[in-house]
Amino acid sequence: MSATAEAPPMRIIGHPQPRIEGRLKVTGAAHYAADHHLPGMLYAVPVGATIAKGTIAAIDARVAEQMPGVRAVLRRGSFPALAAAKPDFASVADLEGTVYVDERRPPFDDDTVRYYGQYVALAVADTLEQAKAAADAVRVTYRAEAPEVDPALTAGEMTVKSERGDPDAAFAAAPVTVDQRYGMATETHNPIELHATIAAWEGDSLTVHEATQGVVNHRNVLAAMFGIPREKVQVISRYLGSGFGGKLFPWTHSPLAAAASRQLGRPVKLVLSRPMMFHAVGQRPAITQRIRLGAERDGRLTSLRHDYVNATSLLDDYEENCGEATPHMYATPNLRVASGLAKRSIGTPTSMRGPGAVPGLYALESAMDELAIALDMDPVALRLKNEPPLDQGLGLPFSSRHFQECLTLGAERFGWARRDRRIGSMARDGLTLGWGMAACSWLAERFPCSARVELRADGTARVAAAVQDIGTGTYTIMAQMVAEALAIPLSRVEVALGDTSLPAGPVSGGSMMSASLVAPIQAAITRAGEALVALAAGNPAAPFAGAKAGALRFAEGRVAAAEGNRQAVPFDQLLRALGQEAVSGLGRAEGTFPPKEKPTHSKHSFGAHFVEVTWQPELARLRVSRVVSVIDAGRILNPLAARNQIEGSIVMGVGMALFEETDYDPRSGAPVNASLADYVVATNADAPAMEVHFIEYPDTHLNALGARGVGEIGLAGTAAAIMNAVYHATGIRVRDLPVKLEQLLG
């Protein structure tokens, strides 16, 4: 690890810290959304459509309504229609005002069915078992139509996202070219924690426990749908059994639970089943991408075209932003990135584990490998050759880019120099080895965020923000920031988050949370220090009696006179002397995303993955055995959590390359493998040996600590590196993920 010269030494930040909430989680004391039980609570179970396209002809709930414990079977017309939330993605940059949903249609809005599993009714009963039995007894008849299920994705029109030079002419003139299509199957998030809502009304106020990655946005969407002021809605999400993007934005079950609660005057709990996790809560859509590369014989790229089309639902325009990293990854004078949509009878797609750049880099980095082979060039050398002097897409300098160091260090740690380029030429213990590599990039931005820090007379501090810890370590990072700044032990910091009654914070998405928290927490500490100084200066009983506020300074948790040799007094000692319980300060910082004005720098993390697979042709047995990843993500705040993030991403990359695929029946449009047995994710036994290195160049364009987020960057490029290794082992280039062993049988 190379540290930089200017970085001041720190005691807590940058040192491995176990999760502060870890004990609560492993002992079962951490209450997730579905763990809450409210007095008088009813249980709701949705009835999902069993066709993928058509209209509801009739809903017969007479039997269900008569079943024991059943309170109601709700459907269209059972409660006042909900308003559409009018989402605006740019509003995500608005701290208090963000209103965004991917599926815009409110539940029960019409009798049209647009995807399999769309909620058509909701059974509510005294117990979960009664509600489930009633939901099963609801008879729905449909006028079914043939669903749009064509797996071939073609778009009516393409939108140019980035363009420079004349890529067509340059491609035509290039001595060496690659022109390939890369496909990716639909993937479903499958966090272990199911989506859950517990809604309770008190008068015209609504409280919701929700498994969400964004409490403030969720609150605003519910307020909009119910037409009530935001102040009347409280959303709580203290612990999340992960979301992987699937819980970023609200889905229809949440307003349904709230509507049922209002209608029946009782708290209502609604927890989705595992099959429902494949229906109405988003997925990464199927994607097809075409990459065209043109290069000189020495490897210099002369043309790059990236065209991609993703499936989306019939009503919504979710775009998988596959070209996000393409314009800045490599130097080339000629480039065009264009995107299109193909409407299908599917639930609305949503962000999933590195939306955009992750699938995009799978295609680009696979094509780069194919180009290296066409050039008879080492793939690391090819990438080194095409290092751009600046972000040629934005025409801006990089805030901090150390991609070449990632490549060379990764190659060194992996032993890349020993690679024999010939297909199937390397072996160990009777297994054929394949070595492949790929690059990665992920945006480094900040959301607007606020936070309150309270200094207390007992020597503890409390930091509070309406942000979320989605399992990535936000609790611990917040505590680290405060403990570091106040020079107190980590154990003396209390963290409150996941509640809209706290100062507003952003969604946990885009790996931006840590970077977003730095400035508001620092500002809050500064404000709290100012408040303390003001109290000290004005109080005759205190150690600094008579001093002017301007002559006192607050640093490292202590107040000291700017002049003279008065000793610095720790905040708790001072508070006690002042007879004060606590002082607090509120901090707030604007974000950089989505950008409101033209930025001055292109801010991205970078990295490189080196992968070894083993291949046993006689059994068609493929395993990912070893991965070395070098990540350039600015200053690492908690090496333990950061490594954990990258390792988890690599394992997801194994899933993306080899296993994960939501299988839609070609006739009914139903996702048929809607279970954890049939939707195959990587298990522990599938995890390779992993070596993660961070090269730490603090990126102070982003925040004072120079920290970027660490999460999705680890998944970007991983599937490409695996598939490039598969090619090296087998000589078979599979361009549709996930690879199935039958494609490699030969």
Partner: protein, 332 residues
């Protein structure tokens, strides 16, 4: 899940009497015995099984594992899969059986799962498991959406135009290779059924999977003594490393003398609508020197008549390779 009555049978006779009122012991049975529950409860939650009465048989003393009278192995119907896999006799004399069990499910599931429950586990066909879908096995006459739908995991042998559901059990494949016999007690008394005859092919009655009649209680499974000097193994091929049903699998055993095969036996999993064994294919191995081409011929014989669908044709070649590899191992 539908409501049901829960009963604890006082003894085997009481369980049988309760079961006898079920109308059928096959799909749609109104009375079901509860062993480990890892299949039954799962299917009840899905709405695939809807018994009115569930009869707990866990305390009937059917959980022993020991020597059979003929020196073979007697395995109680409610012996736990984990206990069986780790039993010293099994480890020493029937290693393929131990390996087959340990290649299946997870530790937690194997700790709960039982011998009889494992034999009676149901197909993993996704259409069978989804009551919103048609399925001839679950709702006779409603059609088979797996043919023409998602069927990569399903059978290529023993199928019919009504059903291509594969039998998912690993344990049963090793037991079949070992000539297991199923001991059944019913209203008419006790009987013994060789495992190969225990399972039925789907034909035009895919809802019938085995020979059990209402009230029939499996009490134990016996294996004849293992051949002295035999080497055996179980090889399971699947997409991920663990916790997944087989794409194909093979249980094999062989005895050798002077570099030649004396006897060889094998059964295949993942390919058939029931665990698959073709004695004629084994027979060509006797007296021969081990050789990959010979093993491939045996595989071809075992796989003769396969009727793959669009997505699962690869199982033919994969099964061949699986068998060749396993036979090579035990004859090396």
């Amino acid at each position: 899940m539908q409501g049901f009555a829960f009963q604890r049978a006082a003894d085997a006779a009481a369980a049988i009497a309760l079961g006898a009122g079920a109308g059928t012991a096959q799909q749609g049975a109104r009375v079901r015995f509860l062993a480990g529950g890892t299949t039954l409860i799962d299917l009840m939650k899905l709405g695939v099984e809807t018994p009115e009465t569930v009869v707990d048989i866990n305390h009937l003393g059917l959980d022993g594992i020991g020597r059979a009278a003929d020196g073979g192995l007697a395995i109680g119907a409610t012996a736990r899969n984990s206990d069986l896999a780790h039993h010293p006799i099994v480890l020493a004399e029937y290693p393929a059986l131990s390996q087959a069990i340990l290649a299946g499910a997870s530790t937690q599931l194997r700790n709960a799962a039982t011998t009889a429950g494992n034999l009676l586990q149901r197909t993993r066909c996704m259409y069978f498991r989804d009551p919103a879908s048609a399925c001839n096995k679950r709702a006779p006459g409603s059609g088979c959406p797996a043919i023409g739908g998602a069927h990569r995991m399903l059978a290529i042998l023993g199928t019919s135009e009504h059903c291509i559901a594969s039998n998912p059990s690993d344990m049963a494949v090793a037991m079949l290779m070992h000539d297991a016999v199923v001991h059944v007690q019913g209203v008419g008394g006790a009987r013994q059924v060789p495992l190969d005859d225990f399972f039925l092919l789907p034909g035009d009655r895919p809802e019938r999977e085995n020979v059990l009649e209402p009230g029939d209680l499996i009490t134990e499974v016996t294996l004849p003594p293992a051949e002295p000097g035999a080497r055996s193994c179980y090889l399971k091929l699947r997409d991920r490393v663990s916790y997944e049903f087989a794409l194909v699998s093979a249980a094999v055993s062989a005895t050798m003398a002077e570099g030649r095969i004396v006897t060889a036996r094998f059964a295949l999993g993942g390919v058939g609508t029931k665990p698959w064994r073709i004695p004629a294919a084994e027979a060509i191995l006797a007296g021969q020197a081990p050789d990959a081409a010979l093993f491939r011929r045996a595989a071809d014989l075992a796989l003769a008549g396969a009727r793959p669908q669009r997505q699962n044709g690869f199982k033919l070649e994969l099964a061949r390779r699986c068998l060749v590899h396993a036979l090579t191992q035990v004859t090396a």
